[in-house]
């Protein structure tokens, strides 16, 4: 009797939760101040994500937050004057005014509007932020290309607006995050929100109806961010009883100064107050682990490569976000596990009493329920007193009934999962899945948009400008794949690439996408490219180009074979995230690998079938900024590299033809017959159409064929690109009518306008740069052999912003005498001053022989790894073209193998003068990461290198090829990007 009445009482209580009063303050209208491209990324990449859309709909609000985008400060003020704005988000790409000054002006006039600065993450930006006056800014976030950061920002600000009311009224729970590093909280917040929302989603699928879905979302735990000790204490005191747990950095401000132990003090204070309050300390200093252990709080090393993964684990375990695990308090061993309310109910009687008691006493169960917005049951559980019942069994019985009651009354069945199936042959760009689509896909979607928006391409009536048919698998597919196949442990381990690939290919892709893929295959007629589209790749200031693999598969009459290969290739791309070179790259770029999520771009390969191979007439990479302009070219006019066949030729740093779209007839490589013979393309890449040649492999070129250009002539592709070397007259004759050796000169296109390549590229670059407010890099492929009746097509394959340095050096570097420096170059790339380099690694030139170039890679890689480990950067000097795949032209390193180099010097020798390494993705990485790049050739009086000084230093390491030396004082590096002068100064002598 008693039990029934209690039951009834609590069940009534369930219905009274005032969810409709929760989250009353919302952000309806956001003013976004940034370039068109940035805005496009935010809006297009998931309409600020499906999640935010769903959440808004579920809250019965009529509109999801509406973004008003302006490009300039002037426009921003116009909008603020006429529209109700709830939040201002500004990026650094604001036209017309410095964003910080603008923020001040906005705050002055509209004090109530929160202002958030969203910056890309890079060294330069961090430096700039530390110098700027940010007092008018409420929050600074750094954007890593993940759209869910926007969701997190909006939620954080809304949580702040609503916390007082929602906690007091309904008992909504909170998580306190104490962190002053923009870089880190920008990573955590989206992660924590993601976990909370996905947790809520699970409940939704378990049987809550629309009404309860709304409740769940409104009642989800809030996150409160504190950036100083005082803020943290204030929040703790105010929401003490509603805190699920605390995550805290160790070092942050206390009493106006950086306190190296602020986090430990906070943990002590909290533990003294509430012994069982979950508390996680995290620090980049591993030494604090001991203090954490002493305090019995969790600890995570910030520099751990699995940082975010570990936080996720902590959140799930201690903040009750994951499954509830009942343990044996004596041994810590798991005795039972429940993933939802239903399971709790079912397993209640199997849980040993001692375990149940242990968890009840510590409020674990109520916290777990609270974290799921099951406040009513949580409330019941929290206030259960053992002494109110005859024995523990009675408690269990009571609880069982309560849960049953709750479920009976509220359960409304499962909401059907939503599959998107819009794909048909008329669509150029579609997506599968709900997550982010990643950088590359975003770029493609952006291209698709600008092609439509700008009719500039109409001036080429005989050419179609488009993107290839594309389907994107969003990152949630990746996440699901990783989690269901439990791949993180192997992925994050030190296993070899082959082992990782092997495990990945054994995994299964989510079944739900199979049908979509099958449909895609049935519509696509040619081969398919499977390309990475990671959330970090290609985002602003994050040059990931060429880090992950791109596979291609041929069409087979049997769609099942194609589907199977497609799935294998997708897994290969996923696996490539965790290959050794990617991990090295992540470390070098200060990214955290498990923050990486991968979308997949599936694209029809551009080109034409020629017998058993497939390739486009030519491919290319164009940049709107030219780092090495040769008079009369200027930096702003851009530069293009083109090569016959697949773009792999250019990506791999093979020989391609370089020209300025402004002066297409001026091709340096074709200046003399000798140069034309030596410096033009001899082979090209094509896809092998024999389906059996594709097998999962760490080598993404496994089914690519390298063909002689003679083959291209047979296929007819050389018709537009070829010239002939007339041996008897020692002349280059354009076209293929003369007898002699064929050369790829693009003469018919560049000189005789057989195809308006320069015009189209000029337009693309100009438009792309305008829309992105910064220089861009564009990849393209052209098919000049379309089926009869069709027009030749220019396909845009990718666009990404290039980091362009606008800072200038005030000092006149030309006044520095070369012979007073260690290195002096009048052909330097990069900009700024680097003060913390002590190490120089140089290839010995006295015994240099290009035949040894491949052998130099291994010791260099080892040296780089060791220096990286010690957080040391170095000046790297060596002959020829760094990063060239052709080892005769230079040392064939990949970027991760020299990732700690801060200045790279390409050294010409008297008998070894090689074209600069412009035109490779590797080079793009160097420049985007602000690595200084010098070209010198002292043998011909171009530049200066004090070899004697280096040789005189004792070697830290030396072998037959290279030498590593260290100065006692730093050698200051100064580069004037505008004048192309770079110097490495002699270190100051010690007193």
């Amino acid at each position: 009797m008693q039990r029934a009445s209690i039951n009834l009482k609590y069940s009534n209580f369930f219905a009274e939760t005032a969810f409709e009063h929760l989250m009353q303050h919302r952000i309806h209208q956001v003013l976004l101040i940034c370039s068109t491209y940035d805005a496009f990324l935010l809006e297009e990449d998931g309409r600020i994500d499906e999640q935010i859309f769903n959440e808004y709909v579920s809250l019965n609000l009529r509109y999801p937050p509406h973004f008003i985008h302006v490009r300039t400060a002037e426009k921003a003020f116009e909008v603020l004057a006429t529209e109700p704005i709830d939040l201002v988000i500004t990026m650094l790409s604001v036209g017309g005014m410095d964003p910080f000054l603008m923020a001040k002006k906005v705050k002055h006039k509209y004090a109530h509007i929160p202002i958030v600065v969203l910056t890309p993450f890079s060294r330069e930006v961090s430096l700039r932020l530390s110098r700027e006056d940010t007092s008018a800014i409420d929050y600074i976030f750094c954007w890593l290309g993940n759209a869910d950061l926007i969701l997190a920002i909006i939620k954080l600000i809304e949580d702040e607006m609503n916390v007082t009311h929602d906690v007091d009224e309904v008992g909504v729970q909170c998580v306190l995050l104490v962190e002053d590093s923009v870089r880190f909280y920008s990573s955590y917040l989206p992660l924590i929100y993601r976990i909370i929302l996905s947790q809520s989603k699970k409940f939704m699928n378990e049987g809550l109806n629309e009404h309860q879905k709304m409740m769940r979302l409104r009642g989800r735990p809030k996150i409160l961010l504190a950036r100083t000790y005082e803020e943290a204490v204030e929040i703790y005191k105010e929401y003490r009883d509603s805190l699920l747990g605390i995550i805290s950095d160790v070092t942050y401000e206390r009493e106006g100064k950086k306190d190296q132990k602020a986090g430990i003090r906070l943990a002590q204070m909290v533990k003294d107050d509430q012994r069982y309050m979950p508390f996680l300390l995290q620090s980049s200093n591993i030494k604090h682990r001991a203090a954490a252990k002493e305090l019995k709080v969790g600890f995570i090393h910030k520099l751990s490569k699995t940082l975010l993964h570990e936080i996720k684990r902590f959140l799930n375990k201690y903040l009750a976000f994951g499954d509830f695990i009942f343990v044996d308090p004596g041994t810590g061993a798991e005795v039972a596990r429940v993933k939802d309310l239903k399971e709790l109910q079912e397993k209640l009687f199997q849980i040993p009493d001692y375990s149940l008691m242990y968890h009840f006493q510590r409020d674990h169960v109520s916290k777990w329920l609270n974290a799921r917005a099951l406040f009513s049951i949580a409330e019941v559980v929290k206030h259960l007193k053992v002494e109110d019942f005859e024995n523990l069994d009675h408690i269990k019985r009571f609880l069982f009934d309560t849960i049953a009651n709750f479920r009976f009354n509220k359960g409304r069945g499962v909401i059907a999962k939503f599959y998107r199936e819009k794909f048909d042959e008329y669509l150029t760009f579609t997506r599968i899945g709900d997550g982010s689509i990643g950088g590359k896909a975003r770029g493609l979607a952006f291209l698709n948009m600008i092609i439509k928006k700008h009719n500039v391409f109409c001036q080429f009536p005989d050419v179609v400008v488009t993107i290839p048919r594309t389907v994107v698998l969003s990152t949630d597919v990746f996440e699901e794949y990783m989690e269901t196949n439990e791949l993180y442990p192997i992925a994050l381990s030190d296993a070899s690439d082959e082992e990782i690939l092997d495990r990945f290919t054994q995994g299964h892709l989510p079944v739900r996408i199979h049908e979509d893929l099958y449909k895609f295959i049935s519509v696509v007629k040619g081969p398919i490219a499977i390309r990475s589209s990671s959330v970090l790749e290609d985002s602003h200031y994050q040059p990931f180009a060429g880090i992950y693999s791109t596979y291609m598969i041929a069409k087979d009459p049997d769609d099942k074979v194609v589907l199977n290969q497609l799935c294998e290739a997708i897994k290969c791309v996923y696996a490539s995230v965790f290959f050794k070179s990617s991990k090295g790259y992540m470390t070098a770029t200060m990214n955290v690998i498990d923050e990486e999520r991968m979308g997949i771009v599936l694209q029809e390969v551009v080109g034409h079938q020629h017998g058993d191979v497939f390739y486009p007439t030519f491919s290319g990479v164009a940049r709107s900024v030219n780092f090495y302009p040769i008079a009369p070219e200027t930096a702003e006019e851009g530069i293009v590299n083109v090569a016959m066949g697949l773009g792999k030729q250019i990506v791999e740093g093979g020989v391609s033809l370089r020209f300025s779209p402004r002066y297409p007839k001026k091709v340096l490589q074709l200046s003399s017959p000798d140069m034309a013979i030596k410096e033009t393309q001899k082979t090209f890449y094509a896809l092998d159409l024999h389906a059996e040649t594709f097998k999962p492999s760490v080598n993404d070129a496994i089914n690519l064929k390298k063909l002689d250009i003679k083959e291209g002539e047979k296929h007819g592709a050389l018709r537009w690109l070829g010239s002939t070397y007339d041996y008897h007259n020692n002349m280059i004759r354009d076209g293929l009518s003369a007898k002699g050796l064929r050369l790829v000169t693009f003469a018919n296109i560049l000189k005789y306008d057989a195809f308006p390549l320069a015009g189209i590229i000029g337009n693309v670059l100009e438009t792309g740069q305008k829309e992105m407010n910064q220089p861009v890099e564009v990849e393209f492929a052209v098919d000049l052999q379309p089926p009869a009746g069709m027009l030749p097509t220019f396909y845009l394959l990718q666009i990404r912003p290039i980091v362009d340095c606008k800072e200038t050096i005030s000092e006149k570097l030309e006044a520095i005498k070369p012979e007073e420096t260690l290195i002096h170059s009048a052909s330097a790339l990069g900009n700024g001053i680097i003060q913390d380099v002590y190490d120089v690694v140089y290839i010995k030139t006295d015994v240099f022989n290009p035949a040894n170039n491949p052998a130099i890679v291994a010791p260099l890689e080892k040296l780089n790894a060791a220096l990286n480990e010690e957080h040391r950067q170095y000046v790297l000097i060596g002959p020829g073209r760094w990063g060239s795949q052709d080892s005769w032209l230079g040392i064939p390193v990949k970027w991760p193998q020299i990732s700690a180099a801060r200045v790279i010097v390409e050294l010409g020798l008297e008998n070894y003068r090689i074209e600069y390494s412009q035109g490779t993705h590797f080079f793009q990485n160097l420049t985007s990461l602000r690595v200084g790049y010098f070209n010198i050739n002292p043998a011909i009086g171009d530049g200066y290198l004090n070899t004697a000084c280096l040789d005189a230093l004792p070697a830290v390491y030396e072998d037959q090829y290279l030498r590593h030396v260290r100065f006692q004082q730093p050698c200051v590096i100064k580069i004037d990007g505008q004048k192309s002068i770079g110097v490495v100064l002699m270190p100051e002598k010690e007193d």
Partner: protein
């Protein structure tokens, strides 16, 4: 005569022309003996006359680039000496070109041309124009502007420019086109023309063929034949290609070629399609020879080594300067090599030459052996004059004749008291004598 004092005077008169002075010094040193023996020379001031060009033209070459901007370069034509025939010498377009270089090249051309026995005087010209990175239109406009200044200074019987660095058939075409327009004449005023408009056959092969003809003459003189001889060759460019084709045609066996990566040993000899492959390889493999061994099984690629370690009768270095040092020479001697002919520009170091001399190994300097290119230029002019295009065989036969003639001149003038032939001296003296005698005959002009 006091050569040192004479050189000092020259330095005073020609400041800032070290290349020219160096060239004169070397010439004087090698012909010193002869100069002091012939009393007529001092009286006729032959040396003074030889160290002063007949005339020097230096002129501005304004032209408009693709952007519409006017660019001004400096043009040169040094007509050095026409005792033996119309001035004849190349045009060079190079950004570092200066008057000293042009005078030096013109002076050296005098003796190169003389050695061929063809009626050619000496000249040189060019401009400090860099054809690198220029469009065809720019190059054409430059050549036309250059010719606007030069056209009335040249002519088939006056001065015949030809190709040199930065000036190839393309540039000669533009120059010739403008010349034709200005003079309204079609005459053989240039060498290096396209085959279809007055050029000669066997131009690319000429240097290599010439070397073999010279060698053949030498062997014939010793009552030997090229037939059956084993030859090692370095390099695989134009000269090596010509050498190999002609040597194989005449029955010799060439067993090596080389590149910066190492050398190829082909025990069966490089013949037929293998020779054609050299041309292809030059254009496709960035100067390396390794691919040859993939293409032709049974051949061996020896990494990082030079071909001089192989046993041979004759060695012909055709790659780069100083490629054959004393150590290599020692190996050649040890392996039974008897003759070394220079195909490249000074491939043998002085130490190597000395060592060869002490071991009675016959050394033929490039100066004597590689006149084939110049000779074919002369033959091009001859064809233009008679308004005929000779067949390959005709050109080839005349080339052979010229090279055999050069050999005999070298023997005649290079014979040492010990009976050995000093081919360097022989070539120098023979060339010098032809010029001197012509000058003497033609009086003080």
């Amino acid at each position: 005569m006091n050569i040192e004092k004479y050189l000092l005077d020259l330095e005073y008169k020609n400041p800032g022309e070290p290349e020219f002075l160096q060239s004169l010094r070397e010439f004087l040193m090698s012909t010193r003996e002869y100069l002091s023996d012939d009393f007529r020379l001092e009286n006729a001031a032959i040396l003074e006359r030889l160290s002063e060009p007949d005339r020097v033209f230096m002129f501005k070459v304004p032209w408009t680039n693709d952007q519409g901007k006017v660019v001004v370069n400096r043009g040169y034509r040094v007509q050095y000496n026409n005792a033996l025939g119309p001035y004849k010498g190349g045009l060079r377009f190079h950004p570092m070109l200066n008057l000293g270089t042009v005078k030096m090249l013109a002076f050296e051309q005098l003796f190169k041309n003389s050695l061929t026995s063809l009626p050619m005087g000496a000249a040189m010209g060019g401009a400090d124009f860099d054809p690198k990175g220029k469009t065809e239109g720019e190059i054409m406009r430059f050549c036309q502007s250059f010719m606007l200044e030069l056209w009335d200074l040249i002519g088939a019987d006056v001065d015949v420019p030809g190709i040199d660095l930065g000036v190839g058939t393309r540039e000669i075409g533009y120059l010739f086109g403008m010349y034709k327009k200005l003079t309204r004449r079609y005459s053989g005023v240039f060498t290096g023309k396209g085959l279809e408009w007055g050029g000669s056959l066997i131009r690319p092969e000429a240097a290599g063929y010439g070397i073999i003809y010279f060698l053949e003459a030498l062997l014939n003189n010793r009552q030997e034949a090229l037939q059956g001889k084993t030859i090692t060759v370095s390099g695989f460019g134009n000269v090596a290609w010509g050498v190999i084709s002609k040597a194989v045609e005449l029955g010799a066996k060439v067993i090596t070629i080389s590149g910066p990566d190492g050398y190829i040993y082909d025990p069966d000899g490089i013949t037929g399609e293998k020779i054609n492959y050299l041309l292809e390889m030059r254009a496709t493999h960035n100067d390396i020879v390794r691919p040859y061994s993939f293409e032709f099984p049974g051949t061996q690629f020896v990494e990082g080594k030079k071909p001089w370690e192989r046993a041979c009768d004759i060695a012909i270095p055709c790659a780069i300067q100083n490629e054959l040092n004393a150590g290599d020479a020692r190996q050649l001697v040890a392996n039974g090599c008897r003759i070394v002919v220079e195909g490249a520009n000074m491939p043998c170091t002085p130490e190597a030459q000395e060592l060869m001399e002490t071991h009675a190994l016959t050394f033929i300097p490039g100066k004597a052996a590689n006149a084939g290119g110049v000779a074919v230029s002369g033959l091009e002019l001859a064809q233009n004059t008679v308004k005929l295009n000779w067949t390959r065989d005709e050109v080839d036969a005349r080339l052979k004749e010229i090279m055999t003639g050069i050999y005999h001149l070298c023997v005649k003038h290079g014979k040492q008291p010990n009976g050995q032939i000093d081919f360097v001296k022989g070539a120098n003296v023979a060339a010098f004598l032809r010029v001197v005698e012509a000058m003497m005959d033609q009086g003080v002009v």
